[in-house]
């Protein structure tokens, strides 16, 4: 490399270091530019720092975070389904219960109520299960009972994992799996699920990238923050 090029590179790095220092002084530690993390990434993309911001003087004056409008319990219990066509209703009832918005204390009775709310037999029935594989009716019932908003998409594994990681819960269904489950969150590099048919197609409590590939395409419904 010619001296002029080396100098130019050093000047650019010096500039990034200066900007990182400014970000430190101004309390912008993590996330998108202009943060310390972003400038360190620009200096050396191989470092991948785990950003742990310090408590800042501005945090002392900040009002306490309001409690979430809709509380989600990812550990809510799931029990096995009795009828083989009710996986979508079981998943929806679990998600409602995880949001403290189910019908009563008896899960089986809740599932029956859920089935009727989805729309028996036009939207869900013993012949086909849930008629609209995108989950539109599940979204409708969930939104009506909780007041929360949801979104839907046919997602890649990485997209679904990122959404699950956000921690608001959801549901998903694989086309080749022909089965709905709830989304609790993530567990390592897998999606942690609530499964009313544990073991079906060799899936218990986790969906791996390999499962996603062999059982897809997956439609996901997730709760917006």
């Amino acid at each position: 490399m010619a001296p002029a090029d080396t100098i130019a590179q050093l000047q650019q790095q010096q500039s990034l270091l200066t900007q990182a220092l400014r970000a430190m002084l101004e309390g912008n530690w993590c996330g998108a530019p202009p943060s310390v993390q972003a400038f360190v990434d620009a200096l050396n993309p191989a470092l991948h720092p785990t950003c742990v911001p310090p408590y800042r003087q501005s945090d002392e004056d900040a009002p306490p975070e309001p409690p979430p409008e809709h509380y989600f319990d990812p550990n809510a219990e799931q029990i096995s389904q009795i009828y083989n066509w009710t996986c979508s209703a079981c998943s929806l009832e679990w998600l409602l219960r995880a949001y403290d918005a189910s019908y009563g204390s008896d899960i089986y009775s809740n599932r029956e109520s859920c089935t009727y709310d989805i729309g028996y037999p036009s939207n869900i029935n013993p012949t086909y299960g849930l008629m609209d594989g995108s989950g539109a009716q599940l979204r409708r019932v969930f939104e009506e009972r909780t007041g929360a908003s949801t979104a839907q998409g046919w997602l890649t594994f990485d997209q679904a994992w990122s959404i699950a990681r956000a921690g608001n819960g959801g549901m998903c269904s694989g086309g080749a799996w022909y089965h709905w489950c709830g989304i609790r969150g993530t567990d390592g590099d897998t999606i942690w699920i609530s499964n009313s048919a544990p073991g079906y197609q060799s899936v218990w409590n986790n969906l791996s990238r390999l499962d996603w590939s062999r059982l897809g395409p997956f439609s996901c419904v997730w709760v917006l923050p």
Binding site: I7, T18, L21, L25, G27, P54, Y55, R56, Q57
Partner: protein, 60 residues
């Protein structure tokens, strides 16, 4: 190496010494005032005068 290149390297060396001083100040929790991160940043880039909005870490 040309004279201009030599001058650029000298400037980089000075800036690097200021950056090092600023890092030391950060480590010693001097974010504003004399011999602070803010002071050394202004020495590196005087155009930042009046632009900085310190929000330093709070110490117990």
């Amino acid at each position: 190496m040309t004279e201009e290149e030599q001058a650029q390297i000298t400037q980089l060396q000075v800036q690097q010494s200021y950056l090092t001083q600023a890092m030391k100040a950060a480590l010693e929790s001097r974010w504003v005032g004399e011999d602070s991160v803010e002071a050394w940043l202004l020495a590196i880039d005087p155009s930042l005068q009046g632009e900085l909005q310190p929000n330093p870490p709070a110490y117990p």
